[in-house]
Symmetry: C2
Subunit: 424 residues, 2 copies
């Protein structure tokens, strides 16, 4: 891809009220644009990253045996009323009335809808477990959107749901999703700490938040340095019915000290027991012929928030440092200066990459070298090739890596080998 | 995939008010389920087809040079007011008020939003053409949804937009999208007739609908048998300001007879000229330094409607007949009867397919052979393998094709060759 042809270029100046690093860098780098408060357009460069995030999560869900589906955005409000969640979500829920005066909730999550979908199939014990997931736009009418993609009013979410005939089966599968979340986090290069959390308006028996340590986070997780128990602060204080401070004694082992860590909630898994199935009368026919309520779990990850969390944890003061798995292109190629020799070699290297099927962003603009090198740092592709009169004088092209200062001047013919050893 | 593990099985009985073949077959086959009037869930089997439709369209858009993006579902109502399209769409538009009393339209289409997005980048002539597309949920508060996925209240749509500095450049690119639509239709095995159409509430200078002949269609296109001019009936009557009937003289060549054909509008391309850019004040800086309004086009295809159109044109009285490109799995494998020899061979053939990476739906249920064969016809995968005591007696497995009666009994070792020659 020629950078000159990309829609959405880097920006030098961004609004002063943009404060979090991920928000600043994703806007400056040309990955996202705000359309209205809490609503963002994902530009082509950002879409390439979000597509990789989606593919990593989708592949892991399919590996678990989950089947992908698609459900409507507008849910009949009656579905939400069955569990009083129209009240529990309250102002966070967008409601729309159609021209026949029927009311619909804009999906903030989809447990109720999925429970109705499963119920309508009149399942028997032979059909379980039922494992389904989707990637769809979710809506929360947040009071105060903040931090770019960290807290928004609508966002793409992977929501997965599992349905079971027994509590034991649900627990066993809950653990499989839990483990899958740890593996997904690893593929995304995120260090996560699962903590016991409050289920809030989603409901259920117990649940875990997968927290990523970050000064930009708005959550606190609490971990005992002795017994390693971990909670969200909210959940701990609710359970113990008292306030805690960093360094307080652990209420579980009573010996360790509690450590508070500022963090971002990246993902959330819920064991929802029969919270939905009983009010929804969502039953299955068991081996003995009896109708019994289902057991179910739900598992969510926001795609935009994942991108923001990765940027919060992978940047320096010059820009983004994408993990290899998520970089929008494998190579950032830049030519410096107006020399014809430089642009000929750059064109050749560019077409070689294209022929090999290596995705490459080629900054072919006729602008000041300083600007091109700054944009290269800002955009944050891990493997870089710079071609200049100096590099040609030194033997060919300069290969460098976003995450360290090291650079080598090598013949152009060696790029492919360096690239292979970097990406394997 | 074992059919016993699929979520959403075939149905024997469906509501009597389901009348169109595609609606009947997609519901009976377990591809879709209605959630509320005009809103459908796409079940796992349906998702596999819709994913293929998306990939075919996306690949062709990327081949044109279009970049994929993602925009919010809720558009500030002010965007729609700039072209009075809140009035033009009227009751068809869903509007939601958030808890700060700000009004948003649920995206019915996105020209205004895209125009604002391009404008905000302060483009210069060097940045053009700008070619972008997305796949996103669209909303139309239809009075009378009908025909399952043919006319719905929300649907996944590919909407592409192109922006240009001159009218000539727009025309040249409009033609490229037009040609791309013909190629996409060919990949989908749809026979389309492009007709001059009315732009309705979308606005613009001229546009084409891509019509597929079908008795289930709710549109009529009109073609002159002599000069081959083609219009939507609506457009022809509007332009000529009179009513027409089948067989009337062509108003263009004045010699040919007009033929009316009932059809489905599958896709739509719009040359929108400066319909949006002028009221939006969406300008670019030209070579001479002057600010000039953009020229733009828009290009839409509904994913669900594509699936329905394919089924309308690819079925018989037993069920769906998926084109090779769109079949949810490459092979439908069925074992008949309780014999251990049969189930051992079927398991072996199934694991061979999985090892080769051939996608396969394996009907492993312990139900009556007649039911399995009926479901095989209903689901409509083009290449089928049936294993029974009789096939084993006859030499191995029975290979048959959904679109003809021919079947051969061959050794299991020959399946791969037959499959390769069928799919290439």
């Amino acid at each position: 891809m020629r950078y000159s042809e990309i829609f959405g270029k880097t920006l030098k100046n961004i609004p002063a009220d943009i404060q979090l690093p991920s928000h600043q860098l994703l806007v400056k780098g040309g990955f996202i644009r705000q359309v209205s408060s809490g609503r963002f357009a994902i530009l082509p460069l950002g879409y390439l990253v979000s597509e990789k995030v989606v593919n990593i999560i989708d592949a892991k869900m399919r590996e678990l045996g989950s089947l992908r589906i698609e459900t409507p955005t507008l849910h009949p409000i009656e579905i939400w009323k069955k569990t009083n969640r129209d009240q529990a979500f309250g102002d966070l829920m967008h409601v729309v009335e159609d021209h026949r005066e029927a009311k619909f909730a804009l999906g903030a999550t989809a447990e109720g809808l999925m429970t109705e979908l499963v119920k309508a199939e009149n399942p028997t014990y032979r059909d379980f477990p039922i494992l389904i997931h989707q990637f769809s736009q979710k809506f929360r009418d947040e009071m105060r959107p903040r931090g770019g993609l960290l807290r928004v009013r609508e966002f793409m979410m992977k929501d997965a749901y599992s349905f079971h005939t027994t509590e034991d089966d649900l627990k066993e599968w809950y653990q499989k999703y839990f483990d899958a979340y740890l593996e997904i986090a690893k593929s995304l290069d995120l260090t996560v700490v699962p903590v016991v959390a409050d289920s809030g308006a989603i409901g259920g028996d117990y649940n875990h938040e997968f927290m990523v340590e970050s000064a930009s986070g708005e959550d606190l997780f609490v971990k005992c340095e002795s017994c390693h128990s971990a909670w969200s602060l909210e959940k701990l204080e609710k359970d113990e019915n008292k306030k805690f401070e960093d360094g307080d004694a652990c209420p579980k082992c009573e010996s360790g000290a509690l450590k508070f860590t500022r963090s971002i909630e990246w993902g959330h898994t819920f064991n929802q027991g029969q919270f939905y199935s009983i009010p929804h009368k969502a039953n299955f026919v068991d081996q003995d012929g009896a109708q019994k309520p289902l057991w179910q779990g739900a598992y969510g990850i926001g795609i935009g928030r994942t991108m923001a969390t990765v940027v919060e944890t992978h940047h320096d003061d010059k820009g983004i440092m994408w993990p290899k798995n998520l970089a929008p292109y494998k190579v950032h190629l830049t030519s410096l200066g107006p020399s014809e020799e430089v642009s000929e070699l750059a064109d050749k290297v560019y077409s070689d990459f294209n022929e090999n099927g290596t995705t490459v962003l080629f900054d072919d603009r006729n602008v000041h070298p300083g600007e091109k090198l700054q944009d290269m740092d800002l955009i944050g592709i891990p493997f870089r090739v710079v071609i200049s009169t100096r590099s040609i004088g030194g033997g060919g092209v300069e290969v460098s890596y976003r995450d360290n200062e090291k650079s080598d001047v090598v013949p152009a013919s060696q790029i492919a080998d360096l690239l292979n050893s970097f990406y394997t």
